[in-house]
């Protein structure tokens, strides 16, 4: 496992942000929910529709109302949609990975089909590494296999299959934004 020495909240957040940026994520810090909501709206530009998790699983109170007001619809699986919005079950500081589990109201496609993925992550959910998260789940009495699928996401989709030239956004999102609240 990757060494993570300083495990204070601020240090974990800083480490997560640094590692995620190294992987090609854009990291935004939101001090208030209102600021986070604004960041989402900015990323959406004038898009009419999004794919997303149920809003109860996205830790940004006020997001649903703001999207409603802006006339932005939530659709089920329209392949033309540009942005997918999800929460995150955890952030792994040591490797900059997002942990997403699936379940009712947390569709897999929201972080997969659209070219842009926006993940909203609570600072308190940043842990040193996957082992720590797994340990936490066990301590809470939750089986790791209780969720349908766990996916760890480390930055935008990428390939080097054409002559080793790095290219982003092959099948999955070519841009990943993490809003830390």
């Amino acid at each position: 496992m990757v060494p993570v020495d300083d495990r204070s909240g601020a240090a974990l957040r800083a480490r997560f942000a640094r590692e995620a940026e190294k992987l090609g994520c854009a990291v935004h810090i939101a001090d208030t929910s209102a600021q986070g909501v604004q960041q989402v709206l900015d990323l959406l530009g004038g898009d009419p529709a999004i794919l997303s998790w149920d809003f109860e699983h996205i830790p940004l109170p006020g997001l649903a109302a703001a999207l409603d007001e802006a006339g932005i619809r939530r659709v089920a699986d329209d392949p033309g949609v540009r942005v997918g919005i999800t929460g995150a079950d955890a952030g792994l500081a040591g490797t900059g990975s997002l942990v997403l589990t699936t379940g009712a109201g947390k569709p897999r496609l929201a972080s997969l089909l659209p070219p842009v993925h926006v993940a909203v992550l609570e600072t308190g959910r940043i842990v040193p590494h996957f082992e720590a998260w797994a340990e936490q789940q066990r301590a809470n009495g939750a089986h790791l296999d209780a969720g349908g699928t766990i996916v760890l996401i480390g930055g935008p989709s990428r390939t080097g299959d054409i002559a080793n030239i790095p290219v982003r956004g092959v099948h999955g999102p070519g841009a990943v934004h993490v809003i830390i609240v």
């Binding site: 082992e131 996401i153 480390g154 002559a163 092959v170």
Partner: protein, 469 residues
């Protein structure tokens, strides 16, 4: 694909004269090897070696407990709603896949890259059954439309240049001409997106299977693996029985070692742990999920002195480090597995008589063992296979061919003569070991005593005296 490994030497001869292939091999293996070292030792040599030790131990422990872990994995997977099937050999695995396809009336199939499905020649069986099968990993897709076979277990199209791929896309897919790898990738993205959305069955492999949780684990970068395991109604995963590991903690170690050893990533972009089909209340994910556990010769190997070959996590590092692979390329090995692990596993899986040159496709320089994330002793097994060749009577003609072959292919002759020139000095100090990078060499071969002067040097001196006469 038929095993053509007995053609290794002529195939390698052609490969080393192909400048485009040589350039591609050089670029990809040097890149990967450098990135691997940087990432593995990012927290110091000791930390990297410690992680490697952990990974090696995780796989060895898993192999020791293999039968037990397989049963535990099966029970967990079934409890999570997956259907678990067992295939003793390639024919049975193909039949099981075809049965599932028929049961669900599937016609359009998307695949994410799986070397095991190449091993059992699944695509041919599906195509013969009149089914549409599309590879969706970019490299595997390129190789599929070119009508070729993967040349590297991680990067199937690493042997092709950008220009070759561009021409292929223009010719076969009517791509608007472009020289930009990004635009070429975008073009494929659009095409394959349609295929994902229209597919009714997905086929994938598995990097690990965790006994503790029954997790089917996939490490991928492009996102096609997630598409294949999410969009089609039915998912079939084919997993070799040697892929089972004990715990989630072992998995995190191994998943990181896999990515680092492959191309220096800390983790692959997507690391999935799949725990069954779509649950109540979910709107996506497969409704039916089959896992086919494939033996195909593995349990036979398990009972021999070659069992540690089953610890391989298919990271590709030994290929990238191997001087023979770097010169001969993957196709010369004549089957899906190439490089040092290919030279060991091909004779074991396909039969020694079908791969007689491969145990000699190595200069025994020891780099493969030094770089392997799970410390598989590949040189030891290559030597044992050579021994088997002799005792099974596959020898004399091939011996000389083989020796000739590796000298030509690996540049071993040059390395050897360099070593020997340094040697007359070195030998006095360190009688039986070569210094630095040549150390691995002497671990597996005794050095012949050095002549006071090599023939070449004698000849040069002769010429000099002649010039003066």
């Amino acid at each position: 694909m038929d095993v053509q490994s007995n053609n290794f030497i002529p195939a390698a001869r052609i490969a080393i004269r192909d400048p485009q292939l040589q350039a591609a091999l050089h670029a990809s293996s040097t890149n990967s090897t450098r990135a691997r070292a940087e990432s593995l030792f990012a927290f110091g040599r000791e930390h990297g070696e410690h992680m490697r030790e952990q990974a090696a131990e995780a796989k060895r422990r898993a192999l020791r407990r293999l039968p037990d872990l397989l049963e535990r994995a099966e029970a967990r997977m079934q409890a999570n709603g997956m259907r678990v099937l067992w295939a003793e050999d390639a024919a049975e695995a193909r039949r099981l896949v075809l049965d599932v396809i028929e049961r669900h009336g599937a016609r359009r199939i998307v695949k994410s890259k799986s070397t095991l499905t190449e091993e059992i020649d699944l695509n041919t069986a599906l195509e013969d059954g009149g089914l549409d099968v599309l590879e969706t990993d970019l490299g595997a897709y390129i190789v599929q439309i070119a009508g070729e076979h993967p040349s590297h277990i991680v990067g199937p199209a690493l042997h092709m240049s950008k220009d070759t791929i561009r021409d292929l896309f223009v010719r076969e897919l009517a791509m608007p001409p472009t020289d930009d790898a990004e635009q070429m990738t975008q073009f494929v993205r659009e095409r394959l997106r349609q295929a994902f959305l229209g597919a009714d069955l997905g086929i994938c492999g598995g990097n690990f299977l965790i006994a503790e949780t029954g997790s089917l684990c996939l490490s991928t970068n492009e996102g096609n693996g997630r598409m294949v395991t999410t969009l089609p109604r039915v998912l079939v995963a084919l997993v070799g029985i040697e892929k089972v590991i004990e715990s989630v903690d072992d998995f995190t170690t191994l998943a990181q070692m896999l990515a680092r050893s492959n191309n220096g990533q800390v983790m692959t972009v997507y690391t999935q742990m799949i725990h069954g089909p779509r649950r109540p209340g979910e709107t996506d994910g497969p409704e039916e999920l089959y896992v086919i556990l494939v033996d195909n010769g593995r349990s036979r190997i398990y009972g021999t002195g070659y069992a540690e070959a089953l610890a391989c996590i298919r990271c590709g590092a030994c290929l990238n480090a191997c001087p023979v692979y770097r010169s001969a390329g993957g196709h010369a090995y004549g089957w899906i597995y190439s490089g040092p692990i290919g030279a060991v596993i091909t004779p074991l899986l396909a039969g020694l008589e079908h791969a007689t040159p491969l145990p000699y496709a190595s200069s025994l320089c020891g780099k493969c063992k030094d770089i392997c994330p799970v410390r598989i002793d590949l040189p030891r097994m290559l030597l044992d296979l050579r021994h088997d060749l002799v005792t099974q009577g596959h020898s004399p003609a091939l011996w000389s061919l083989g020796l000739h072959g590796w000298a030509a292919v690996s540049g071993a002759a040059r390395l050897f003569s360099l070593a020997r020139r340094g040697l007359r000095w070195g030998l006095r100090l360190v009688p039986n070991r070569l210094p630095g990078p040549l150390d691995g060499w002497t671990r597996y071969r005794d050095l012949p005593p050095a002549a006071p002067q090599s023939f070449y040097e004698l000849w040069q001196e002769r010429q000099k005296t002649r010039d003066h006469e």
